[in-house]
Assembly symmetry: C2
Homo-oligomer: 411 residues x 2
């Protein structure tokens, strides 16, 4: 059961003019469910992306980087679940290239105008026969725009699809932002999440879109963690079709206020999609916001936040709703921040002052702690007392179900 | 059930001349079991120690550092379980000092000749009334030398005592090495383990003993991890009473070969005590040796080994005996080693070549993987193909019982 994450309302998911979606069951993940998604993009669409920093990055990630660097206009994205095509060497690269080739042939454009994405088990080759059959079926289907089905198609151990839409009224006209994501495990993105795709019908230049994507990733997909495991396939893609006729730019002063409003809406969608991944994290029963403030640098604020968010002891204490809160101080202490003065650190749980001056707060009672730990959504505020910057990381607890899911993942 | 860790054979634990042990039930942890240990040392004993690097280091750790720095000969160590006296501020320091004071009064030496150790729950004050009653009882008991009972007394969530003894025949005569340790959770020592104590009746000068302690810690207690949580109380102490009359030194050429043999035995005992902590790790069902070779530096070898050892996905795959071995490559990839060439990395599990050239080995079969993952003791060999240094880390799997134990620790 995801933590306070109702399934997306299908009617609320707005089509994005210039984006067509087609989902088929290729039998790669499991029989009887869609597992192959084709995203078609109108000519003139700009595309930007950020990818995993894992040295074992998957073949499709390598091909995406290459194709984005080629400066050809991207016309299609193809995403499969069930096999990550990672740790697959030359064969994996050949398979990813062949996938692009097939899509390009059907769409009558170049292979370098196609971006491939895969998610699933590592160290196994893509079943190309099934991929090709699935693609052939996709080409024969009429264009559609069902973002709900698209979100379902890219799921692996996710328990429900993740999709968010916003219509933004700007001075220049109305634009739409719609995005989908998937996650569940091996989630400690270092550039982007497992998979996140966001599209808008606004017109945004390539450099501007790339900057927006990076900034949005840092505020959303790069601020979540489930288990600290950075995947081999993390990809976060942004697409701007321009079909609304509303042109936006970060450098054009005449649309400055529209840009600010659009950016805000874009960040909201990316944050909601990223948080949805945590809320539906493997075995998650609680959603935690770890906010570290009064840090000397934002790097050290993130370092402390991740140390707390990754501590198995902290995570199991949250699972148990047990205010064994010394574990939070211990994690702050070993986070590696140099010359940290423990005597200046304070900690609040859902507003309750637990520790100050590096020790238990005089006002704190066990009953307060029990009450603060009870909800399924918890804010942990850690004040380091040494500067003025802050960072926020979202994470979930560590439960029996995480073990069950990951012990049985392949079976 | 610890992994291949039979309880120590009481008869095999050799007394160390010059070391007296006294255990009492002070009711700090639980009624009806010993939880307070007093170690008395003969005059002339040298003592050295290494401690946690956690910024929230516990009050007793702070007092130990102070007393060791005072250069007074240490005459007693006092260890309690049930309360870590960490995150307890000035009151915690006062309590640790008072504990030393009481022991010093009874023994007729200075408080600075006493070292205090605590392990247990963080953020709670030492129950000084029970501590003082317990100490009074200890002073009234006759001296004993029961290392088995001492090992039992310092346990927290450990399922069995950890104690190892060796008699070493040297040219200069026979000496004894006996040690005890405790661990179970919050174990990713960064200097030493939760608690480890080793004593010998050899005569070893202070500087020499300090060097030996540091080197032994790096090869044993600093090479284990259970959950990546570096405790606030980690302490590893070495004591040399000199009562055997056998003098050893790292700088005296006339005893060079004795020193080498003694050091070897000392390392064996410290390694066995450290490994015992992992074998009895919270919820452990498997014991893994992660060996990273062909690294450019020993720092990066350790970085990779710890990334693999801490990955919840790798740990649950071992728990399930599931050869989902791409998770190991993913952890190597995100370990943060700069410019790692994934195409040079190979991985073996219990001798079976799983991956080479950054991808699945051509010879590898699922059946081989199943067979390699089945035993309860597994060697993971990772070759980075970029240098000539190596590092070894010992760890255990992540099981349902880890969650249960830590969700319920305080109850």
């Amino acid at each position: 059961m995801p933590v306070r994450l109702p399934p997306p309302d299908r009617a609320s998911l707005l089509p994005v003019a210039g984006v067509s979606l087609c989902a088929v069951s290729a039998g790669i993940r499991k029989a009887g469910r869609t597992d192959l998604l084709l995203i078609g993009l109108a000519p003139g669409t700009t595309v930007a992306g950020v990818f995993t920093q894992n040295a074992f990055c998957a073949a499709p990630v390598q091909v995406c980087r290459m194709h984005l660097a080629s400066a050809q206009a991207i016309r299609a994205l193809v995403i499969n679940t069930g096999c990550a095509n990672a740790g697959t060497g030359r064969q994996g690269l050949a398979d990813a290239h062949k996938t692009c080739q097939r899509v390009a042939e059907a769409g009558n454009f170049l292979p370098s105008q196609v971006l491939p994405f895969s998610t699933g088990v590592i160290l196994e080759n893509l079943p190309m026969d099934r991929m090709e059959l699935g693609l052939r079926e996709a080409f024969s289907k009429p264009d559609a725009s069902d973002w709900f089905e698209a979100a379902q198609t890219i799921m692996t151990t996710d328990t429900q699809p993740k999709a968010v839409s916003r219509r933004v009224m700007l001075a220049g006209g109305a634009v739409v932002i719609t995005g989908i994501s998937k996650g569940a495990g091996m989630i400690r993105p270092n550039m982007a999440t497992m998979l996140g795709f966001m599209a808008t019908d606004a017109e945004i230049g390539q450099a501007c879109l790339a900057g927006l994507t990076r900034e949005a990733a840092d505020r959303s997909f790069n601020a979540i963690t489930i288990d600290g495991d950075t995947s081999t396939n993390d990809s976060y893609m942004a697409m701007a079709t321009g079909q609304s006729g509303v042109a936006l730019s970060s450098t054009d002063a005449s649309v400055a206020s529209d840009w600010v409003r659009f950016k805000q809406a874009w960040f909201e969608v990316s944050e909601a999609l990223a948080q949805a991944i945590v809320r539906d994290g493997e075995g998650a029963t609680k959603f935690m916001t770890i906010r570290v403030s009064s840090a000397a640098t934002s790097a050290e604020a993130r370092q402390v936040a991740y140390a707390v968010a990754h501590s198995p002891l902290v995570k199991t204490a949250f699972f148990a709703s047990d205010p064994n809160l010394g574990r939070i101080l211990a994690a702050v202490g070993y986070s590696g921040v140099s010359c940290l003065d423990a005597g200046l650190v304070s900690v609040r749980i859902n507003g309750t002052l637990v520790a100050e001056g590096g020790q238990r707060a005089a006002s704190y009672t066990e009953a307060q702690g029990q009450a603060a730990m009870a909800p399924d959504e918890i804010e942990v505020d850690i004040d380091l007392g040494r500067g003025s910057t802050q960072a926020t990381v979202w994470t979930c607890d560590l439960s029996h179900d995480y073990i069950s899911i990951n012990a049985d993942y392949r079976s």
